[in-house]
Amino acid sequence: MFLNLRKYLSLSKISLLLSMQYKINTFFLLSVVIVPPVAYFFLWNSIYYQKEIIGNYKLSEIITYYIISYLFFETRPHAWWDIGYSIKDGRFSLYITKPMNYFLYHFFYSYSYTILWWIFAIFGAFFLFIIFKNYFILPKILPFFLSFFFSFLGGILGFIIEYIFNLFAFWIEKPFGLLRFYDFLVYFLSGSIIPLDLLPFKNFFLFLPFKYLGFFPVSIFIGKVQNINLFNEFLNLALWISFFFILSHIIFYFGRKSYSAPGSL
């Protein structure tokens, strides 16, 4: 099943075409990559008016941090809430009767859908770079690509965890409060609100897998990660991905057993 990727690639193509259906509309969705970092710029600029260094961040580092953090975090692929909805309203039956792996179906669909987001978001980040060029740190080539690579892998991890939370719809009558709760929790734990190494108990936050969704790739981008740590971090991330991947399949297995196709024909 895993080797037969052709059908998933066709699905990806359809998903990409769908995402391009209303390009301008998609473009506006990415205002979230541009607007909050501007607000953060003004806020941190005022804070740094009194002090040159906060934690181990200079002003330019913190501004770059927020711009890139929003770029990485907001363009990550999502396990759509539709997974949860389809379980609740019975449309899930349509998926399990198709000769496709349910996880891979959503994975490929979701990743392809975000390609256009990425293109627009990079333009958005570039726009911010032009506005705040005196405050923006340009990385060297290797950290630049490594940060995007880790962000890509972090996106996979985020997708799997979100997928797991969607699967709770098998047991919970209305799972959307839980999903919203999870969404916001990850927003914080990924370091989108504040860099994780500025927090008290930072070792705890840096142990959790969510740092790979924002904080860690951004730290590479602004040059705060030594190369020597990268391989360890890569292994660590691979372990987290493997762990949640296996867990998602276990939960899916038991969830499917308890599924009673409510509302389906």
Binding site: S31, V32, I47, Q50, E173, G177
Partner: protein, 261 residues
């Protein structure tokens, strides 16, 4: 009076539906707590390095943040989804369902989809507010609170009309509904003190898209910085927005073509 009774009855039934999903309610309460908790952690970290932000002490920033969350929560909870749904009604050609009812369609749309999750969040927002006053240690007078609530109410109406005006663009640009989320993104500017903004951004966000004033003007009355000019300015903006809203609504409805049978 009859209209108000209908609206209240309608809201009551919606609330009952929401409360029937108890686990969902519990997660919504936790969600609200997270919002306040993360704002708290953010400013605690910042204030561990500095004493104030453009003159805003820690207590004042919590009162500002609490106010910003209150306005946003109440707006999104009661009106936000309804206002946003207008774009969907126009796109799908089902607006006439509302235009033909013996009730003001603008109001009907406004109360179309109230979400009661904001009710569960209000206590956690209050915690920020109360903690802010605890740090300040001097309570404003009753009259200051009275002016605060007037300004707060005006801010809520300005936010409502601003979003409504944005969504009214649906009559002209049908497939750009993500544009209407922009206001929610801009609201990020309301969470911080007015004085941090400089230059063209400040001018735009005080006059054309007056997001900054939404939270900043009410709290000025609590910090003894308020005056009647602020309320006058809010009324002026509200009045201007109302004129624009009426104009766009009338033009939009004339332009609208239904799609239902």
């Amino acid at each position: 009076m009859k209209s108000l009774k209908i609206i209240l009855r309608f809201l009551y039934l919606k609330l009952k539906t929401y409360l029937s999903f108890r686990l969902d309610v519990i997660f919504e309460i936790f969600y609200g707590l997270l919002e306040s908790l993360f704002a708290f952690i953010f400013f605690e970290v910042v204030y561990s390095y500095v004493n104030d932000i453009v003159g805003f002490e820690k207590g004042e920033i919590y009162i500002l943040t609490g106010t910003a969350y209150f306005i946003d929560g109440i707006y999104k909870g009661i009106f936000g989804t309804g206002v946003f749904s207008l774009s969907h009604l126009i796109r799908s050609g089902r607006l006439e369902k509302y235009l033909l009812r013996p009730f003001k369609p603008q109001l009907l749309i406004l109360f179309r989809e109230p979400k009661f999750d904001f009710i569960y969040k209000l206590p956690s927002y209050s915690l920020l507010f109360i903690y802010g006053f605890y740090l300040l240690k001097n309570l404003p007078s009753t009259f200051d609170f009275f002016l605060y609530f007037i300004s707060f109410f005006l801010s809520l109406l300005i936010y409502l009309l601003l979003h409504y005006i944005f969504v009214l663009l649906s009559f002209w640009v049908i497939e750009m509904y993500n544009l209407y989320y922009l206001i929610y993104d801009f609201y990020e500017f309301a969470r911080y003190p007015e004085k941090i903004y400089k230059g063209i951004f400040r001018k735009i966000f005080i006059s054309i898209i007056p997001i900054i004033i939404l939270s900043n003007y009410p709290v000025k009355f609590l910090f003894k910085e308020g005056n009647f000019f602020l309320i006058f300015y809010q009324i002026l903006i509200l009045f201007s927005f109302f004129i624009i809203f009426k104009f766009m609504w009338n033009r939009g409805v004339k332009r609208y073509e239904g799609a239902t049978i």
